[in-house]
Symmetry: C2
Subunit: 370 residues, 2 copies
């Protein structure tokens, strides 16, 4: 055959090399396992014992399709947040929901505003619909609310992304600042407020949920504080019409039955969640101490990781990262200018942070010496 | 606020009422559970005991993200089918892969060919990208290969869908006929060959896999014979360039870690698969006997369900369906003209088919009397 089916114009111009490299791929390349898995902002503490028991108990039921309505999980989320069931949509992690939002609000050529160095998966999905990214630099290691607002207005963007608390810096805005931002947004611009780390920071960083406002979608996940990154389940809370619009294109059988049931059980065990929040806070303090003991500057964090300034440029921090990887410590780092002076370390189990503490001095020496 | 963020032109015209009504929704509406769940072509025999044990054992590991490469599962699939790892992509069930195919090959306004009454989820995802469906009627309860070919040519369709064995009729084409069809397709038309039921019919219905042909995508699933509908995992096999094109837009963290590991284990237990295939064949015979004992005509089936001609029109078959539902027997039926004279009964456990046998005479009497 000489011809092949052509891709659509939007897809044909996309790169087939993608930014998703998991620790498993790195382990395959290295030919050996990491000793500390503290790079993907997972919760090493795992899911609640109740959730684990429930998942094990329902394994044999997996011959049944999931409920395409996600009914029970939506009811549980709605009760948990004090909103209506009609204000909730469940998806294959926040990632899956971001893909839908891109298709809902972004036509080819539309400008979409985010922060430079913010969540790459959002960017990936915007590119996937032919959107044009406008990336606003961070200011003082925080997403710039004024900068985002100016870009939205200048570029007439139908969509803007903001994570709070933020990845990769761990910073956050207080609710009052966010409310000011939301009220200043054009009515025709949709805000995706990614609160993946929402349970892990100060409650004062979470504005009250107002589902009467049709241009804000709040997103939350079971991947972080609830320790269920592997089941792929997140949810969005919004105005009921926005939720109905998700129905038009979502994969109605996308969220597994396992995730639907585990999510209900996870929300029911708030005691466990609180214990994780406490342990994460202690882990952040420990990571900060390790950083300071090595002359690095830990940034304040409202998440389950600590980003630390290595005191040099991006090239130096990259050497530190590589030296840690070579010592079997899986961490990550921001890659865009200014932020790239840092490395990012997730809260792990005590023995993982011990390994980090043991290996960091040697990694720094290697980075300085090379 | 007086304005709201506008949807894209493609999404704004879509209906927000969708065709996905699961048995759970019906149970909620009825206020009571079904006694026999034999309507969604699930495998009541469940997954392999090895798979159940493995899933239970890894529940506690679900704090880790899935491998975005789906590496181990792709290697296992590739080995199972004798193709390269570069010829496999894994998705959130065939549904998830169909959504991607729509985005890859169908621009707004493009014609897409399928059979009238074939898989509604395909139609849903084509509508979701603004595609224009051209639906070719079945002929003698089989998808019409000649009709599909003529429609593809007439409408210059970039994409055509064919399921083999077929849902909702259970019919199939032999490999030689499919090869003839494939060779007659325009080089620029992509064929999605949905083989969700492929393990359950005669091997002679499956053409050899030829990954050198760039306009055929074969799709398989763990939802049917492998009894894992609830974990949402399917895969596509195609030319390596086609697989790379999936990478451009797929949700790289869409398939759960649970599904990735369960899929590997399921493929490893081919003895269990064979036992299911045997039990499904016996179940088909049993359903056919029940149909015939009640004066209905069972159609030949290469799947895990039997579609039966109720001997009247669509309205009559609908009454039979409703009478069975009211007797707590969950089944489904085709809804398009000609096919709609039938009801569709999935192979279930013995006690479920007993209930079907007990309730069918009364349901038929009710349908005739009402």
């Amino acid at each position: 055959m000489r011809q092949r089916p052509p891709l659509t114009p939007i897809v044909s111009v996309l790169p087939s090399t993608v930014p998703f490299v998991g620790p498993e791929a790195q382990e395959r390349d290295r030919g050996r396992a990491f000793r500390a898995r503290i790079g993907a902002n997972e919760s090493s503490f795992g899911p609640s014992p109740r959730v684990i028991a429930r998942m094990a108990g329902i394994a044999r039921d997996m011959w049944m399709y999931c409920d395409p309505d996600n009914h029970d999980l939506k009811v549980t989320v709605a009760g948990h947040l004090g909103v209506g069931v009609e204000n909730v949509v469940v998806g294959e992690g926040i990632d899956g929901l971001l893909s839908l939002v891109a298709r809902m609000y972004v036509a080819s050529g539309d400008a979409v505003v985010t922060s430079l160095g913010a969540y790459p998966t959002f960017n990936f999905h915007i590119a996937g619909v032919g959107g044009r990214l406008v990336a606003v630099p961070y200011e003082n290691d925080r997403e710039s609310l004024d900068g985002l607002l100016a870009a939205v207005t200048k570029d007439k963007a139908p969509l803007v992304y903001l994570s709070n608390p933020d990845n990769p810096m761990g910073s956050w805005w207080e609710a009052a600042e966010l409310i000011r931002f939301i009220e200043a947004l054009p009515e025709t611009t949709m805000l995706v407020l990614d609160e993946a780390y929402g349970e892990l920071g100060p409650a004062s960083a979470l504005p009250p949920i107002d589902v009467s406002r049709p241009n804000v979608i709040r997103m939350r996940t079971f991947s972080k504080a609830y320790g269920l990154a592997g089941i792929r389940c997140g949810y969005a809370v919004a105005d009921a019409q926005v939720i109905r619009d998700f129905e038009k294109i979502r994969n109605h059988y996308g969220v597994s039955r396992m995730a639907q049931i585990a999510g209900v059980e996870a929300l029911a065990d708030q005691d466990y969640l609180q214990s994780v929040v406490t342990r994460v806070a202690a882990g952040r303090r420990r990571i900060a101490e390790i950083a300071e003991a090595n002359g690095l500057k830990p940034l304040p964090s409202a998440t389950n990781f600590v980003t630390m300034d290595c005191g040099g440029d991006g090239a130096f921090a990259l050497k530190v990262l590589q030296a840690l990887l070579s010592r079997d410590v899986f961490i990550r780092k921001p890659m865009v200018p200014v932020l790239d002076r840092c490395i990012r370390v997730s809260v792990g189990l005590d023995h993982e942070l011990d390994i980090f503490a043991e290996e960091l001095p040697g990694a720094l020496a290697a980075a300085r010496g090379s």
